[in-house]
């Protein structure tokens, strides 16, 4: 450590200020001149250190956020599982008014779930998330969720983490590229702390926000997620989000029930997505003055529901826990799933800030429990626990509704800590995901972003889009392929009959060059007709391609060449085809047309309207 700069009595405070302010000014000047030791040799090191700091800050913020939600709930609704009816009706409605005022007048960017805002920060605003969003998200979500609005704290936690990361990245003058990357690092930290599940958080951010396994950020994301979960566990304990009962697959035939759960979960995800996007579009289209009362109206409706079914209020973790422990009949579980879909759609579409993760888990757990209960009635000999079904159901909705299949599997594994659940989870989640993908081509978060007038990159579309290969664009080999041993005169004779101008030359070594008719004529004129092409030509080697390479590689390599050879991977002299720039562009054009055709045919008529931005 180098010593700080010694006190400089000559540095004056701002002129004309009273003594205390002058004194303060001098202190600031000295701080500015302070030099901490140069510990960061390069930005990569700083980025990793920053990831840990972001993780710690995010963990602390999420701890405070969770406490704030719980305190708000106890103060507004009381500590009982069945709160007083008057409170149940009034608390979410009045809190809704306060939330609307805060969102409209103070924190206009806190509407919605937080996932899309983080994506927008990455892809539109160069990683910029104003710190006021962090504060706004914290306050409004704590008030909304604590008062009983049917929303969850995970997506807001994700955005709080991303906001903290963005603020730190900017303050530390990171490069534009790093600032853009640092928001997902914070997002992973926030989500990991909210879920108390670092693997799921890392996977979610990669699957939904970044969209690719980038080594540039993977290390930082993991570090931040681990740091934030460590902080959370330090303060709130080691226990997982839910107390998961022991699970074991009683008989392989039970997988059939899990397949049924996958089908039901897939269609429930569809219904949930359609309802929430439809209501959101309608509420956005309502007159402007209604935006001041929409959260209150949603709160009132949820409160009325809550008198009969208090379980649908709030994030519902306690209720999920009860479902995992087989505390409800299958009929009540099914009812809870339906009403939770309704309540969450109302809350979210009203513009109340809050997340969709917890409601998705809730609906999934209830549906799973209901299927498990029905199985017990019709197939009592199978004897699988209802808790096991509820647990798998959570993953089903994650796969079908949020459309994150990888995260959904690992989330259930991480929450249960039981590997034997992997088979049911994979069966159910895959079925639900495929059903949702088939009937709902545009994922939920992409629908939201398009409703908001932005076109954020769809990670699912990126995953699902078929990669064009060289073989999709290549043509059969040209009629005439010259050999490097041919003499110039022979080669000229061979090409004279054809109208083509450009010819590939194959070398024994496996290299490829090219020659034009014009060039051959010139060489004969120069008296080099008897020379083999290998000696006579001085053209550079041609880059070559293989049929299974991505078409992007062809585009990068083709440069000014009129043609490139496409050769066999095991026999470099075996010409499989040729590809030109026109071929490449034609292949891209055909693929785009095909994609547009399939998209428009897959979208139901109502959804096209939902996709139109305001």
């Amino acid at each position: 450590m180098t010593d700080p700069v010694p006190m400089d009595p000559d540095i004056p405070g701002p002129p004309g200020l009273p003594f205390p302010q002058k004194h303060w000014g001098r202190i600031l000047n000295r701080v500015k001149k302070m030099r901490a030791p140069r510990i960061f040799l390069h930005e990569e090191g700083l980025f990793l250190l920053l990831a840990v700091i972001i993780g710690l800050f995010s963990g602390l913020a999420v701890v405070c956020f969770q406490i704030a939600i719980d305190w708000t709930r106890i103060k507004l609704l009381g500590s009982s599982l069945a709160p007083d009816p008057l409170r149940v009706i009034l608390a979410p409605a009045i809190a809704g008014l306060a939330v609307a005022a805060l969102v409209i007048f103070v924190f206009p960017r806190v509407r919605g779930s937080g996932v899309n805002q983080t994506k927008a920060a990455v892809y539109i605003y160069d990683g910029y998330i104003p710190f006021s969003t962090v504060i706004g998200k914290f306050l409004t979500c704590a008030l909304a969720i604590g008062s009983g609005q049917s929303l969850g704290p995970e997506d807001p936690s994700l955005q709080i983490g991303a906001g903290i990361a963005s603020a730190l990245g900017r303050r530390l003058h990171l490069s534009r590229e790093k600032v853009r990357l640092i928001a997902p690092v914070g997002a992973a930290a926030g989500l990991a702390a909210a879920f108390n599940a670092p693997i799921s958080a890392v996977l979610f951010v990669i699957e939904e926000v970044i969209g690719k396994w980038s080594s540039a950020v993977l290390g930082a994301i993991v570090l931040s997620a681990v740091s934030s979960v460590t902080v959370l566990r330090l303060f709130l304990g080691e226990e997982p989000l839910f107390r998961v009962p022991p699970f074991h697959l009683v008989h392989p035939s039970e997988l059939f029930s899990y397949a049924v759960l996958g089908v039901i979960g897939g269609f429930a995800s569809l219904a949930f997505t359609r309802l929430v996007t439809y209501l959101r579009l309608r509420s956005k289209a309502m007159p402007k003055w209604t935006h001041y009362v929409q959260p209150a109206a949603a709160g009132l409706l949820i409160g009325v529901m809550g008198i009969w079914i208090p379980q649908v209020m709030g994030a519902g973790y306690g209720i999920i826990d009860q479902a995992l422990h087989d505390q409800f009949t299958w009929k009540l579980l099914a009812l809870l799933a339906i009403f939770k879909i309704l309540a969450t759609s109302l809350s979210f579409s009203s513009g109340t800030p809050g997340g969709m993760f917890a409601p998705a888990l809730f609906v999934g757990a209830m549906l799973g429990g209901a299927v498990g209960g029905v199985e017990h009635i019709f197939f009592p000999h199978l004897g699988g626990t209802v808790g096991g079904f509820a647990l798998v159901g959570m993953g089903v909705l994650f796969a079908g509704f949020l459309r994150v299949p990888m995260t959904s599997v690992f989330m259930v594994l991480e929450l249960s800590g039981n590997y034997s659940i992997i088979l049911p989870v994979m069966v159910s989640n895959t079925i639900a995901y495929l059903i949702s993908l088939k009937y709902q081509p545009v994922p939920l978060f992409d629908l939201f972003s398009r409703q908001d007038g932005t076109d954020l990159p769809s990670m699912e579309e990126q995953r699902e889009r078929a990669t064009l290969l060289v073989e999709d664009a290549m043509r059969p080999p040209a009629e005439i392929v010259l050999r490097a041993e041919d003499t110039v005169a022979d080669a000229s004779r061979r090409v004279s009959a054809t109208a083509l101008e450009f010819f590939l030359v194959s070398h024994r070594s496996g290299d490829w060059t090219s020659v034009t008719k014009e060039e051959l004529r010139r060489l004969i004129k120069e008296g080099k007709g008897s020379l083999p092409l290998a000696r006579a030509l001085s053209s550079p080697l041609l880059p070559w391609l293989h049929p299974d390479q991505p078409l992007d590689a062809a585009l990068r390599q083709i440069g000014e060449w009129p043609l490139l050879p496409v050769i066999h991977r095991a026999d470099f002299n075996n010409l499989q085809g040729v590809v030109s720039l026109a071929d490449i562009l034609a292949a891209y054009g055909a693929a785009t047309d095909e994609e547009n055709r399939s998209k428009s045919s897959a979208l139901p008529p109502g959804q096209r309207a939902a996709l139109r931005p305001d």
Binding site: V31, R35, A36, I53, L60, I67, D326
Partner: protein
Amino acid sequence: MPPEGDRLCPKCGQLIPAGQTACPVCTAPQGFFWTLERETLVLFSIGLLVVFFVVTGFTVKRYHAEQEALGGRWYQRGQAALQANRPEEAAEDFHTALIYSRDNAVYEMRLAEALVKANHLAEAKVYLQSLLERRPGSGQVNLELAHMSAKSHNIPEAIRYYHTAVFGAWEINPGAHRLQVRLELCKFLLEQHDGNEAESEIIALQTELPADANLHAEVGHMFMQVEDYRRALEEFQLALKLNPKQPGAWAGAGEAAYQMSDYAQARRYLQKAVEVAPKNLQAAQKLEISRLVLEHDPFQRRLSQEERNRRTIAAFQQALSRLKQCAQNRGVNLQAQQMAGPFADVDSNVKMIRPKVNKSNLRRDPNLITNVMDLVMQMEETAQQACGTLPAPDQALLMISHTRGVTER
């Protein structure tokens, strides 16, 4: 949503008022923090982190304290409801308590107990298995699982859990808990009429009993149920030694002695039992029978031959009188030549033996006493079969006949 005419800055998201082109925030002069060195800022961040840690620490501490207090309050409510035999209400209170103190094994245990009592067995099982997974050797958890299995009529599983509970770990007062569980297991086995298993458990329990009159009396009653009268008598005697006023122990000891055909001892204990509890009719009846047995048993030791013969003749006459009365009640004529049913056999024997039953014959042939008493037993059994419960004197004769060998010893 910005007001009409205004728009949001695409960079920082702040409002750009209508008519302005530049964002007032983005174009404002850079603040103090923007001018600091990167390393200094990192150090500042770490300092801020420390402050945030401390503040969060205090907040969390207070939060946990409040949660614990809330959990405790709901737990107390649940306990009260459980004690008032309102298990449904108790279960809900314990559920609420667990929200505020999630991993509290005591709350979970009480919840499971309430759920078992409220007959929510599937839910209780989930909680108990989860507890068992965390504390596989816990006596309390195994005991509740035993209760649950017993309610589900899964007897072998219940017995297995009871055994694990007996040998399981108990945090407070393990000896007393183990004793209680074994006692409960014994009662359970007796309810299931599994006598052999129950007897071995009661014997094991007997060895662990402390000096407690109530417990000894209770175990004595258990031995009575498995018909181990000798051990039952020992237990009742121990109970009486510890507390001579132990209710039920006198009667129990009397009953055990009576069943062992030790009528002298039975009379002593039953006499005391009737004195302590005059309304104990059963004890009074057994006392009467014991007294009659002792008064009429011709096989008793230290009797003169004269007295033995007298008692034999008296017994024969008593049995014959009872048989006649019974036959009369049933409308059977013992004088008739053609008789059917149980009376026919006994009547032929009576006709054969009756002329021999007199003092001189009995004096001449001491073995005749045995033959006469065999006939007495046959007569009394026939009367009992035909006419139901016998009066006390006849019951006493039946006892004498049945337990002849014992009393002789």
